[in-house]
Each structure stands twice: as C-alpha cells, then as structure tokens.
C-alpha cells in the first residue's frame, strides 16, 4: 500500500461505510450500527495515520491514471493529511461519544445518523486531500449538504431548523460565488488543478481578473472559516446543532476553511502572476485581528454555552488567520500546531456541554448556576479545557500560541502578540467564568436583565429521552481523552516537530508544483527545519494569558465587571448586529466581498 493508494482509500472508506450503514441500519439493532460506524471511523483513522507518518514532502495520487493536466490529482502534504487525520480522530471520538447518548430514530432509520456523519467525514477528508480546485468545490458542497441536515436534526425544536436554513443558504451562496471565481480562472489558464493554475498564472503580470477571481474563490473559504464579516451563520448553527455535530463543526470543519484559504493562496496565487505577498499579508492580518477581537468580545457576552464556545472558535479562527497571514514557514507551523490542539480542546468542551444538556435540559449559564455541583469530574475537565483555551503552557494550544506569536511579531509587529494574549485570556476567562458559576456556584446568581435581544439557553430539550438513568461513561471519557490529545503536541516534542516540520511544505509552492506536475516520484522536503520547541518568552506569555484568564473568570463570577457607558452601548450595538436574520447575513457577505476586492486591488 504506497501513499498513492492510501490517499483514495482515505476518502473511499467513509464513502463506502455510509451506504453500508444506511442499509444495515434497517436490519441490525442499534448496537450493531454503532459497532459498524465505529469500525469504519477507526479504519479511516488507521489509514490516515499511516499516510501521515509516511509523508515526507508531498505525496500524490493520479486518479484514473490521468496526469494533472487532464485528470484530478490528490495531493497531500503533512498539513493537509494532518488536518484529515484530525477530522478522522474527531469523527471517531464523536461516534464513540454518541454511543448511548443519542436518541436516534429507531426502526428502518436507525443507521441514518452515523451514516450521515460518515458522509460528512468523507466531505471533509476529500476537501483536505484534493489537489483540484473544482473538486474542492464539490467536496465543499458535500461537507455543506451533510452539515445542513445534521444541524437541523432535531425537527421538534424550531431553532435548529432556522439555524440550519441560515447556515445552508449562506454557505451555498458563497460556494456559488467561488464557482464564478473558478470559471474566471479556467477561462484565463485553461486548467483546474491547483498547481497547474498557479503555473498558468505565472506567465502574465497580475491584473484585475486575478484579484477578483482570488477574492471570489477565497470568500467561500472565509465563510466556511467564519472570518468576520462572514461569521454570522456560525453561532446560530452551533447554538442549535446536536452536540456531536457541534464537536465536529467547531473541531474540524471551521479549520478546513482556514486551510483552504491558505492552500489556495500558497499554491495558486503566491507566484509571480498572483496576488503580491504584501497585499495578502496586510489584508488578511486585518481580517484576522478583526475576527479575533470580535469573537472575543461576543464570547464574553454570551450566556448560552454553545454560542459562547462558537464565538470562542471564531476568536481562535482569527488567531489562525493572523498567523497564516505572516506568510512565513514559522507562521504556518505555529498555526498548524494551534489548529491541531484547539480542535481537540474545543471538541472536548462541546462534549462536556452535551453532558449538561443531557442532565439538566439547559445550556444557560444563569439557569444552571450552582446546579452541577455533583458532576465533579465534568467540572474539573471543563476548567482544564478553559485553561487550555487560555494557552496554559503544557497544552498544545499554548505551544501553538507561542510559535504563532513569535512568527507574527517578527513579521508584522509586536502589538499582535498583545492581541494573542488578550483574545486567549478573554475566551479562556469566559469558559472559566462558566465553570466557576455552573460547577462551583461561585458568586451571586446573576440578575435577570430582561433585554430581550439575547438567545438564552433555557427550554432546550434534552437530546435523550429518560435522563433518569446514569450518565453514559463515554460522555466523560471521550472529552477527557480529547483533552489529553490536546496536550500531546505541547508535551511530546517529537509530535510537535512532526507537525511543524510538515507545515513548511505548505509554504513551499515550488515543491508542491514539482510533486503534482512532475513525474510521479516521492518529493523530499529541502531546507532547514522550523523551531518547534518551547521558548522562554513562549512559556511566559502562556502563563500571563492563563493568569489573566483566571483573574477575569474569577473576578466576573464574583461580581459583574464595571463597564463604561460607551463600552456598554458599543457592545449592545454589536450584539444587535447578530440578528438571526438571513438578509442581514447576506448583506454582510456582499460587503465582505467588496472590502476584500477593494483591499487586494488597492495593494496589487
């Protein structure tokens, strides 16, 4: 089994598992479906782990035996395969988590939910591994279609249906925008393979068509990554999706949007005929910082736990985009470690929120005040997750933050380090505040401020009938395992080195082009390795942000923080922007594309 075989197998296993499960679900009991689904997910994890360990540069698979000029070539460097592995691990965790948690429909529809999760995994893995631009659009839509259905799964509750519909319309419209961009690129270069388009663009100086095509194609990636001002759909979709689906969306799907943007820029538009590096660096640093700050501010305001975690994901996506916008191998390496660890930690936090939803039928911070005291282990795990989000040193998120800060401060400016520390502190602090209030009942019960434009977590129906039986052990074991997995990159230097060493390949388009367009041979990664160890100031900054998070969390749990009138008005206006209205989100999408085109054209 050479790498060239492993690549298609990684996509074929879930695509084969889903129909088999859909048919087997009619005859097998619930246990049989779960075993079958877990086996398929475990098989995919094994296949992708094998692939990830064997890649040293870029490994390619020519589908149908056709070269890149004619057919589709799957091309995976360590970053793409690593993200696909993260997806597979999270899918396995989600399927094990929902063994006895989920009130699946019985009868002939028993196997449908795991089958849909497997199709969702196939879409994500295919998107991470493909080397063809139109194929990326197809897998983008496959990811979307299965995510819309999974988000709207609880049809008795009105809000999931609205969240899923908004999610569907905004993401589909962005996909059609990117298809227009693909049409423009196809007309100009006559190619559809990423490396071939990149080479085709190199012939002429960059003109308006290249900038517009880049803006249109990358818009779909930014919508999927929930970068401001395209992020509005994410909190609505996350607040209402079933917990296993939230774990997948926040843990992996959003990060794939960031990876897609980086892959398309590096492979297609970073050459001579593409978008100049300075234009990309300034524009995307601005988008990244705006997303990070907006996500942090909105995260602090939420009382609905899942929306709070969703805005925390948006804040961290802003940090990933800022790190990638540095356009240096260090920045890519830092972002890769940060994404890997954040995916595990955020999925664990969503899993723990699912426990609260299962026990108390509510995910509202005020409503749950002090009610979860006896869930001692869940409280400890939740607090550890909050500290990990804040970037506490031993955790992979701490290492990723440190590496990103170092890369960003050397290329863009030291003030960005302050943004990293502040955003990590605020998001970590919000999670710690929730942990202290819900699990330890710290501080007074928050006053009921009846401003009606806020989504409370009340009245959520528990996702399983009959919560009287004991808590399924998997619902705490899986989040615990994911937190351990989130700590592995920080504690085990070999893993961190493997991630950062592979990340250099993303920032090396010539290597990718040689691997895809040249004769099919294994291409090794030249050049000096990137630093992946803890540095003194990295550890120091991690401790500072963790301490600030603890101060913020504990302080605000005891008594609400004083806020100036102007700040309160500003935040209220910002929250009214998140109106849940489909027309608003699409108007902001139009404005976002316009700003992106104008900013890139001005500097091109």
């Amino acid at each position: 089994m050479t790498q060239a075989d492993l690549l298609p197998w990684a996509v074929a296993i879930p695509l084969l598992g889903a129909p088999v499960l859909a048919v087997a679900g009619r005859v097998l009991p619930r246990l049989g479906c779960d075993v079958l689904a877990t086996a398929a997910a475990a098989g995919d994890v094994a296949c992708l782990a094998l692939l990830w360990s064997r890649i040293h540069g870029v490994s390619t698979a020519r589908l149908g035996g056709w070269p890149a000029r004619v057919g589709i070539v799957l091309a995976a460097d360590r970053v793409g395969a690593g993200l696909a592995l993260l997806v597979a691990v999270l899918v396995l965790a989600v399927l094990v988590y929902s063994w006895r948690y989920f009130d699946e429909p019985s009868g002939e529809r028993a196997g449908l939910f795991p089958a849909m999760v497997l199709v969702f995994e196939a879409g994500m893995v295919g998107f991470a591994l493909t080397g063809d631009l139109f194929n990326a659009f197809v897998f983008f839509e496959l990811m979307g279609a299965s995510a819309y259905a999974l988000t709207g799964y609880r049809i008795e509750d009105p809000r999931p249906l609205q969240g899923a519909l908004t999610f569907g319309v905004v993401n589909s419209f962005a996909a059609y925008l990117s298809l227009l961009g693909i049409g423009l690129l196809y007309a100009r270069t006559g190619q559809l393979d990423l490396a071939a388009i990149g080479r085709g663009l190199a012939g002429r100086p960059p003109d308006l068509l290249v900038v517009t095509a880049f803006a249109l194609v990358v818009t779909a990636m930014l919508v999927k990554a929930a970068v401001a001002p395209f992020h509005f759909w994410l909190p609505d979709a996350h607040a209402v999706a079933p917990t296993p689906v939230c774990m997948l969306m926040s843990g992996a799907m959003v990060e794939l949007g960031v990876y897609g943007a980086a892959r398309i820029y590096w492979t297609v538009f970073s050459g001579a005929g593409g978008v100049p590096h300075d234009a990309f660096r300034h524009t995307f640093t601005a988008f990244g910082v705006a997303t990070a700050l907006l996500g942090a501010v909105m995260c602090w305001q939420q009382r609905h736990l899942k929306r709070l975690l969703a805005f925390s994901t948006i804040a961290h996506v802003g940090l990933f985009v800022t790190a990638l916008a540095a356009l240096t191998p260090d920045g890519t390496a830092g972002a890769a470690v940060y994404v890997a660890a954040h995916g595990c930690v955020k999925a664990a936090l969503f899993g723990l929120t699912g426990v609260l939803l299962d026990r108390y039928g509510s995910v509202d911070e005020h409503g749950l005040h002090g009610r979860a005291r006896q869930l001692r282990l869940v409280g400890v795990l939740f607090t550890v997750g909050g500290l990990a989000l804040a970037g506490l040193p031993p955790f992979g998120t701490g290492l990723g933050k440190a590496l990103s800060e170092e890369a960003v401060s050397s290329s863009a400016g030291a003030w960005l380090t302050a943004v990293y520390v502040a955003v990590s502190a605020v998001t970590g602090g919000a999670v710690l505040r929730v942990a202290l209030r819900v699990f330890w009942g710290v501080g007074p019960r928050p006053a009921e401020d009846h401003d009606d434009d806020q989504t409370t977590g009340e009245g959520e129906e528990p996702e399983i009938r009959g919560p009287l039986r004991g808590l399924p052990v998997m619902m705490t074991a899986v989040p615990g395992a994911l937190l351990v997995l989130g700590a592995v990159p920080g504690c085990v230097p070999a893993v961190a080195h493997a991630i950062t060493d592979g990340a250099r390949a993303l920032a090396d388009p010539a290597l990718y082009r040689r691997a895809v367009l040249g004769p099919p041979a294994e291409v090794r990664l030249p050049g000096a390795p990137v630093s992946s160890a803890w540095t003194v100031e990295g550890v120091a900054l991690g401790c500072v942000s963790a301490a600030a998070a603890i101060l913020l969390g504990a302080g605000s749990a005891l008594r609400p923080l004083p806020a100036g009138r102007l700040l309160r008005l500003g935040v209220r206006a910002l929250r009214r922007l998140h109106s849940g209205h489909l027309g608003d989100y699409l108007a902001w999408l139009a404005v976002g594309v316009a700003v992106l085109c104008a900013a890139l054209a001005a500097q091109a």
């Binding site: 259905a149 589909s172 434009d453 806020q454 849940g580 489909l582 027309g583 108007a587």
Partner: protein, 115 residues
C-alpha cells in the same frame, strides 16, 4: 455580443442576492438561491463556447471533422446542476419543518436566535 454574456451572469447573481436580502418568505429565498446558481451555469458555458463549433459528441460526427465546443465546462455545469437540485431539495425540506414549528416563514419574524 461577447462580454454581454459574462455580464448577464454577473447580473443574475446580483439580482438573486437582492432577492435573497429583501426576501419576506423563505420559500422565495430558496427560489432566489437557485437563480443565483443559474448564473454559474451561464458563465461556465459561455467560457466554453466557440464560434461555429458543434457539440462534443461523436455519435453522428467523424472525429476531427469539425471544431468542437469545450466539453470540460459542460461536465462541470452538469455536476453543478445536480448540486443545485440537491441543495434546493434539502433547504425546502428544512423550510417545511420550520413552517410547522414557527407560525410564519418571514425571516423578519423568526426571532429565536439573537445576541
């Protein structure tokens, strides 16, 4: 005549976005989304057109006897038509269930998710 076809695709997209932004009924919004998708077919096939060329099917044509239109964009448009049909069906299924739980389909009145 040339650039007009491309501009028509752009016009269809923006008028569909206008319909989506000002929609007062989610079924109408899903219809506008399928109009937005139609713009991608028009652009793709316009890019592949060639003057005086015939369809790329050799069932009644000797290969190489006449210039051909670009078959690749037709394959892309075909895949796009299928994607459009399926996404429309999924969003309409969500709309049916949404209508059962909310008494209206006007985005203005759907106030469940805010803040």
């Amino acid at each position: 005549m040339g650039v007009l076809v491309y501009l028509a695709a752009g016009w269809m997209l923006l008028v569909a976005l206008y319909g989506l932004v000002t929609s007062r009924n989610l079924v109408h919004a899903v219809g506008c989304l399928s109009v937005a998708q139609a713009s991608t077919y028009v652009l793709l096939l316009a890019v592949g057109y060639r003057d005086g060329a015939t369809a790329p099917v050799f069932s009644d044509l000797a290969p190489g006897s006449r210039p051909l239109v670009d078959p690749v964009v037709q394959a892309l448009a075909l895949t796009d038509v299928v994607v459009g049909a399926t996404v429309t069906a999924l969003l309409l299924a969500l709309t049916i269930q949404l209508r059962k739980r909310y008494s209206t389909l006007d985005p203005q009145a759907l106030t469940g998710l805010r803040g």
